[in-house]
Symmetry: C2
Subunit: 300 residues, 2 copies
């Protein structure tokens, strides 16, 4: 039964029109033995930006013209991956050093559009619908991580500037609290507070977010305008990471409700993580799309 | 030669005093075939907090009494992992719901102490020295991620509060800039700006961190005190992630200069990532420590 399934997949690919990817052995030989599904062969050679842009446009036009909603969503995600490849090519092209960020930002919007088009995840929808949503969510997450990496140095600098500002402004405040009273200054050892663990719950960084941020505080403080601008930029940059991390965890949760295709993908290509490269994202998504296309065709 | 090496390792473990971990087949059978090294067997059963605390104290006292610097550092990292296990046990113990954060924070200090004790990475030091430093750095990184997860909900809330504040304060400012003039509001497509990619480089979020944050700006703005407090807490929480991500990437870079032990570890146990659990960190670190002990004993 399983063999017939695989054969029908092979047959489909032999009959399929010439594609930019061929299937063969995977890049990571360790995974090959662990999956019985057909594997795409990815080219190691890097193409120029124009090549990927042309492919992306073709795939997007194909998606625009696809009548059924599922096929349309699949094709848009395929197009999104070519836009990501354009971004990757831009990163190494000296002519377009700053455009990769913009390309990733706009691909992010395209994937958000796909998710909107597809509609929210219906608990009664087929498991492959959840697999597809997870692929999109991982794309959203990793694109935001890629954008975050462009701004990380700035964020680290701003973090220091803001920490210094808050430290000195706390020092000079009339009603300065002493948040560190109970913090030990001796040699580090988790042992010291342990005879009575309950005594540490109301001190330390754990209480950061509840200290003084109460309602009804109407007093204002004057801060340098430059600090306000740094804080605003800092919030924008770190929002990329917060969102990436949040979506990543949601995707991991949803993955458990999928068809099992995503675990096979992890076995065959190695798992994706929050620090995966854009190239790994493209490989994973393309391979996942190929399998999803085969599985949804068989289900019809 | 390889067989002799493995046999000598087996011999060492048979002669070694009774340990809390025995070596046998790994938890993940897929990795077993890929590593010829001995693998620790980890218990699935969870022990109470006190059990891990007792073990942690014993290991720490052993480290305190170890004369040679390398062995001392190894033993301290072993102790740190038992403190992490205490933290994990605290998370499920209803009596100590808040102490896990403190335990992780203090274990972080202990690992920083180990790195200080060991001294900075010397390019001429043995490759196993780099392996050990990577294990410590991954511990630092993942402990900060665990602490960040405790505060993530607060960070998301603060992010929204601050974004709203900056938005309304920008609107009301007399010299309000228009940072979004060039942003398209139509359907999302990375294609639109592409005929002339260079035209997009000076707009969009990419220019966030350079807009107006110049020197010489001395004017001040009044902000509600509560916003200052929220901003201060937000910077503290996000600093955990920024540092975790930064250390993670440094560790990945240093891992390439190691002995190859870390790649074997990834193959045998599955790779760690920024979103790995504390339990995975303990398994990785303990297994890495076992192999490092065997390798450094053989080198002597």
């Amino acid at each position: 039964m399983k063999a017939v399934l695989i054969l029908s997949r092979l047959w489909f690919w032999q009959k399929a029109p010439k594609s930019s990817v061929a299937f063969s052995m995977p890049a990571q030989p360790t995974g090959a033995a662990l999956s019985s599904r057909p594997l795409l062969q990815f080219e190691d050679r890097q193409h120029p930006v124009e090549y990927h842009m042309k492919e992306a446009k073709t795939l997007k036009h194909k998606a625009d013209a696809t009548p059924d909603k599922v096929g349309k969503a699949f094709n848009y995600l395929d197009a999104a991956m070519s836009f990501v490849e354009s971004g990757i090519a831009m990163e190494t092209d000296p002519q377009t050093p700053k455009s990769a960020y913009t390309m990733f930002a706009e691909t992010l919007d395209l994937i958000r559009f796909i998710l909107k088009l597809k509609g929210s995840v219906n608990p009664s929808a087929p498991a492959t619908d959840k697999d597809f949503t997870v692929l999109c969510m991982r794309g959203l997450s990793l694109l935001q991580m890629a954008m975050f990496r462009y701004k990380r140095e700035a964020a680290l600098k701003y973090s220091r500037t803001l920490t210094d500002h808050f430290k000195s402004s706390l020092k000079s405040a009339a009603q300065a609290p002493s948040p560190c009273v109970s913090k030990s200054t001796g040699t580090p050892s988790p042992m010291s507070p342990m005879p009575s663990p309950a005594s540490t719950t109301s001190s330390g960084p754990g209480s950061n977010h509840s200290s003084g941020v109460g309602a009804g505080t109407v007093s204002t403080v004057a801060i340098p305008q430059v600090i306000q601008q740094v804080a605003s930029s800092y919030v924008n940059i770190t929002a990329l990471f917060l969102s990436a991390h949040d979506i990543w965890e949601q995707a991991d949760e949803l993955a458990h409700k999928g068809s099992g295709l995503l675990s096979e993908l992890d076995l065959a290509l190695g798992p994706l993580s929050l620090t995966s490269t854009m190239s790994s994202l493209v490989r994973h998504t393309r391979q996942g799309l190929q399998w999803l296309r085969l599985d949804t065709r068989e289900a019809q």
